[in-house]
């Protein structure tokens, strides 16, 4: 479904990697590996279309994502390094806005359920600034429960700041998404109990 060819990434005036290629089929999970600073986050941003590759192109269902931007973004869920939380809004308000801004029509009850399921039932109406790092991360992850219709999940360090229990839960959710025919692409330094071990793409092998 998702494939990349000859990708090269320029950051500032440094070429991070080049000739990078991969292919991701429905139901597959891909872990992006490599040491810090090798360009893992940059690769994810190229794949989402937030950044432009120096060379090469990314294709979704056979179409270049730059030409079919709106269709692609309708099928993509990207959770970046920053959790996209506004401190003045509650987790519930943040989550509802995130869904609505992305173009999903989600009922308030579903948002509440997603937050309860991820373990934030007591923080629903607190302003986000009083949440801990792990809790902030969870608010973002709650979107996963509401985005089953989006086949491609691109996640930047989703396991950071989560406790053991939450890591297992998240791994199960990601495995289930793949079992339903979705694909997941993520960076992580952590081992998580996935149903099937994910394929690994080492960005370091393409470094310049």
């Amino acid at each position: 479904m998702l494939e990349a060819q000859d990708l090269a990434c320029l950051k500032g005036d440094r070429l991070l990697f080049r000739d990078l290629a991969f292919r991701l089929q429905a139901g597959e999970m891909l872990r992006i590996a490599g040491p810090n600073g090798v360009g893992k986050t940059s690769l994810l941003r190229l794949v989402t279309g937030l950044a432009l590759p120096e060379a090469g192109e990314v294709r979704w269902r056979g179409h270049c994502i730059r030409r079919e931007r709106e269709a692609f973004h309708g099928e993509l869920l990207y959770l970046g390094h920053a959790p996209a939380l506004n401190d003045l809004l509650s987790p519930l308000e943040n989550l509802r806005f995130a869904c609505a801004a992305g173009g999903d029509h989600v009922a308030e009850d579903d948002c509440v359920q997603a937050l309860v399921r991820i373990g934030l039932e007591n923080q629903l109406d607190l302003p986000a600034r009083v949440l801990s790092q792990g809790q902030r991360r969870r608010v973002g992850l709650a979107r996963l429960f509401l985005s089953a219709r989006r086949p491609l999940w691109v996640l930047d360090e989703p396991f950071t700041a989560l406790d053991v229990h939450a890591v297992a839960d998240l791994a199960a959710t990601l495995s289930a998404h793949c079992a339903d025919g979705g694909c997941v692409m993520m960076t992580t330094h952590q081992d998580a109990p996935f149903a099937r071990p994910p394929a690994v793409l080492d960005v370091g092998a393409f470094a310049c």
Binding site: T48, G49, L50, G80, P83, N86, A101
Partner: protein
Amino acid sequence: MLSTFLAVLRRDLLLAWRGRADVLVTLAFFVIVVCLFPFGVGAEPNQLRAIAPGVLWVAALLACLLSLHRLFAQDYADGTLEQLLLSREPAAVWVMAKVLAFWLSTGLPVIAVAPAMALLLDLEQGGLSVLVLSLTLGTPILTLLGAVGAALTLGLRGGGMLLALLVLPLFVPVLIFGAGAVEAEVSGSGALAHLLLLGGGLAGAVALAPWACAAALRISTE
């Protein structure tokens, strides 16, 4: 499309309400700048009356400029901007919503107190309605143009000053027609032509600025 627009509008208005101290600062800035002029040029009523349209317009313009850097800064810092750029809707839609919310929370309060400040400078009663009308047509143009500058200077050191340098020359036509409208009305020659030009400018800005702003945001977040 409409639902995205409304979601962004509602959220930004809610944020403006929760952070209303910022709005009050903008308003206080406007009031203080207007009050400085009599100290600078003397409190002779005829002189104040003569400079009133220009002073009110320049103060409104500066108040608008003062808060512009906040337009995208928070969303840029916390990652919301990335999520918005990944929305399936065209970026111009939510840019327009953000600009509208911003204008409602900074431009509208300034317009609301402008007549009171005009009385302070002894502007003729007949000019008040034209002042409000010209500000209502003109300040959205300032916000739209300013949004492009704010998007281009996102996350830069010294971005505030740079933003001023970028957008102030572009503000000049708005200032000319806005203050000119009030002056023309007070001097009896009629403000219609000025107001029509402002209206045309607003239509042009609404049509073009959101696209330029969206392109600028993509460039700045890349």
